[in-house]
Amino acid sequence: MRLSGYLSIDSHFEIVASQNEGKELTKEEKQRLRKEKKQQKKGKEKKDDKASQESEKEKKPVSPAAPASQPPAQSTTQKAVPAPAPVSVPASEAPAPADKPAKSKAELKAERRARQEAERASKQGKKGDTGQPAATSKPKAPPNEMQPVVKRLPEHIQVDNPDVLKKLAKKLERQQIPLRSDYGYKVSLFSHLHQYSRKAPLTQQVSIPSTVIHPAIVRLGLQYSQGIVAGSNARSVALLHAFKQVIRDYTTPPNEELSRDLVNKLKPYISFLNQCRPLSASMGNAIKYIKKEISNIPSQCKEEEAKSKLLNCIECYINEKIILAAEAIAKSAIEKISDGDIILIYGCSSLVNHILCEAFEKSRKFRVIVVDSRPRLEGREALRRLVQKGISCTYVLISAVSYVLPEVSKVFLGAHALLANGYVMSRVGTSQIALVAKAFNVPVLVCCETYKFCERVQTDSFVSNELDDPDDLIVTRKGKTQLKDWQEVPSLGLLNLVYDVTPPDFVDLVITDLGLGMIPCTSVPVVLRVKNVDQ
């Protein structure tokens, strides 16, 4: 049974993953645990507990985050058990995607209310207590089971919630970063996402010369928002380059430790970049890595030494995860390219271009069909690079993909991120190509470096996406611009999506680095687990 919800098993979000893995506990959970321990000492009736839990489990085979709580009925005498949450979970899965964020918010409120009531009841129970509530004792091990499935949604997909917006505004004010305002009418299915205009850059509100934000970061943000640096590899490299400059110009203030202060310095910069253009998964992983490295700097380390160590780390990261990874992937991928092949690629993926150029240098004979789509028309750039090398190419628009597919022998796709449930997040249009390729029985190979593997889980393109400037869709043909006044038509909305997700059934192979070579799409969570253990 397929889940259509947004779950994130990420340390950032307080969502409980599974019964067996105890992830971060929230304050409330910890409080509850303490209370339970007290109750346990008084006496337990575990058996009742387990029985009720199992019945819960049967009720909700769906929620992977396990049956969390016990039916409210039992909780009157019980302690601090969040009751209602899971009950509403299945309910929330039914409705349309657009309502999902809203439903889960309502569901969250209901949970909170119920939790408060349960706690109130339990306090009363405590006073007149004798019987311990059975579940009381929730043994420490599965406290997670009680937890609701979804605790908190990331703010960038809750734009239609005014409270979240207020919180964001406050946070930005504290960090002295200007707030970028949304632009234009948003299509209702995507009203929970930000939509900015390229003509209103964030630099309008940043002072010249910028003092609060490091100039390298302002430049980077500008390049992101104008699309000069586009593509997940390029964005990560540019980000790390800017961080190198920040680290070079950084001096530890007196009475502060580099390991803590530098991380705090980086936070407003990251907010700024996020405002310019939502961070990509690869950038997120790079930032996590840097933050970890910075916090791991011993406090006795001298500033110069620490800085050079960090700069070194960044160089190594780029070298290993991007440059060498590309070479490793190219090596594996070349085995799959045989003479006489006709390869189809979509858009401009730096990795796929690299692979094809390498293959051509190794004297494989193949032809390439470049598929492109508006409004970005990135395929032109891929076409240019391949033709410059000497590869013979054909260029079509995505509307012609089913016409050219009968001749194609393989499809190579790049990815923006690989999600933990095996879905591939890539430029909008990729899932279409994969779908049509599947229909024609053409193998689809996705090439992706491991640093783009993300712990998010997503099954549709609505929940989390990026809305680009709607004015990009306006085109002038023969001197006439039909959509020039689109804002004045009240029922017209322009939608310019950037990403979409491709299900693993359409992908035959994922070619990646770290010595893994070619793996099936469903092995991504395994790779993630192994990576985390290593690090």
Binding site: T203, Q204, I208, P209, S210, P215, H241, Q245, R380
Partner: protein, 454 residues
């Protein structure tokens, strides 16, 4: 630090000598504020905290006594004095302060009055890692009649030919009509890289430049360049398409060593060399963006030297270097700031008719039955009864006796207009006296010692 601001305030105002022979150009009152207040205000508004002001001793003295400068300008002004009579061009001045310059600079001329959103120019500079980013504006026709102008308005100023690419941002070609003797020739290398070029002539250069630090270093090596606008900018624009600027070749090739010595020594300094150049290269290679389409070259055609221009089509942009511009600026200046038109300390009698578009300075005394329309009156000026002032600019410390009629004129500081005088489209120089009952039309009245020597 990202940018350092440099204000060039040593210019002479050679095209409006009648106004500037007594007051140096940067301190000419426009809308009752000294001319150099406007660019300083622009810089202050966008967030600059320090400005290096290059000026003469005279101006420095006047600056320290002027109330507006002391009170309104909150930035730190680092004043560098240079010789007044020396033939120091703007580039020479930059060379002079080379020690103080630690980062990229923003050069502004003191006679610029504009309300441009400065981030537009600076964003071009930042985003494309440009060597030069400048501001230009569409020319506005000056409609006011200029005092002392005889005959039709001549074409006078030689036109500038500015070539931009299709996006209107990249500067491809810049030449002045004076330098093009037999015609405008465009190099093939430019046409090959940018087949579609728009050449514009009706643009006025605002003299606002963002320059990389490497350019300042380059200037110190090449002492032959003395003016930014006249020589440096066209040089940079030309160098964009120079064959020798190709970083890959420059790096290790031994053959190119000789090339380097000849032409390369100049290019070498201009090349952007940041410490992480390979990383930047990598990012650019992996990025799927290109600034042009249709040919086989990479972004920016692999060129490292890039010049950009932001052309304003709306909003104010004046360069006050001619009398006509000065008059127009006085007319438009009030729109730029929100001070009350009438200074609180001015004494205006109730029976005075004052239009809403007039400005009265501090400590003025305007008597009864006067009519002031579309005019600017400086501080400490006394206007007596029955005076009609229309479309005029009256500077500080002027005394206008009763019954005068002043129309379309410019009266400089400390002048005295005698009773019943009738001035139409005249320019009265500093400290001049107009005798009573005089009738002057379209004349420039200056002292004999200020007349030009031929």
């Amino acid at each position: 630090m990202e940018l350092q601001a440099v204000l060039m305030a040593a210019g002479g105002g050679s095209r409006m000598t009648d106004l500037t022979y007594n007051t140096p150009k940067p301190m000419l009152p426009v809308g009752n504020k000294p001319l150099m207040w406007y660019p300083l205000n622009l810089l202050e508004r966008v967030g600059f905290e320090e400005v290096i002001v290059i000026t003469t001793k005279e101006v420095q003295k006047m600056m320290s006594t002027d109330p507006k400068m002391k009170v309104d300008v909150k930035m730190k002004l680092d004043v560098v004095c240079i010789q007044e009579d020396g033939d120091m061009g703007t580039a020479d001045a930059l060379r002079h302060i080379q020690q103080k310059i630690k980062t990229d600079i923003l050069v502004v001329s003191c006679d610029l009055i504009t309300d441009v959103a400065l981030h537009e120019v600076v964003d071009l500079f930042r985003a494309h890692n440009a060597t030069l980013a400048m501001l230009m504006s569409k020319t506005h026709e000056f409609t006011e009649t200029v005092p002392g102008q005889k005959g039709k308005k001549k074409t006078a100023e030689q036109r500038d030919f500015v070539g931009v690419d299709q996006s209107g941002k990249r500067l491809l070609f810049m030449a002045n009509e004076a330098d093009l003797e037999d015609g405008l020739s465009v190099r093939k290398s430019i046409m090959r890289k940018h087949p579609r070029m728009h050449i514009k002539t009706g643009l006025v250069d605002a003299h606002l430049y963002c320059l990389k630090k490497a350019v300042v270093d380059f200037l110190t090596e090449n002492k032959s360049i003395s003016s930014i606008r006249g020589e440096l900018v066209p040089y940079l624009v030309r160098k964009q398409f120079s064959k020798t600027i190709n970083s890959q070749k420059m790096k290790d090739d031994t053959e190119d060593q000789t090339q380097k010595k000849n032409d390369g020594s100049t290019n070498h300094e201009l090349l952007i060399s940041s410490r992480d150049e390979p990383l930047l290269q990598l990012a650019q290679e992996r990025s799927c963006w290109n600034d042009h389409h249709g040919d086989m070259s990479e972004a920016y055609h692999g060129g490292k030297l890039r010049c950009y221009v932001h052309i304003m089509d709306q909003g104010l942009c004046y360069r006050v270097n001619t009398l006509a511009a000065y008059i127009e600026a006085n007319r438009m200046a009030p729109k730029l700031f929100e001070e009350p038109a009438v200074h609180p300390s001015a004494v205006i009698s109730e029976r005075c008719q004052m239009g809403s578009d007039s400005i009265i300075g501090a400590l003025c005394q305007v008597a009864d039955k006067t009519s002031i329309k579309r005019s600017t009156i400086g501080h400490s000026t006394a206007v007596k009864e029955k005076v009609r002032v229309t479309n005029s600019i009256i500077m500080h410390g002027v005394t206008v006796e009763e019954g005068c009629n002043i129309q379309g004129s410019v009266i400089c500081s400390n002048a005295v207009i005698g009773r019943g005088a009738d001035l139409k489209y005249c320019l009265v120089g500093n400290g001049q006296r107009i005798e009573p009952e005089a009738e002057r039309t379209n004349e420039v009245i200056v002292g004999t010692d200020q007349l030009m020597e031929i």
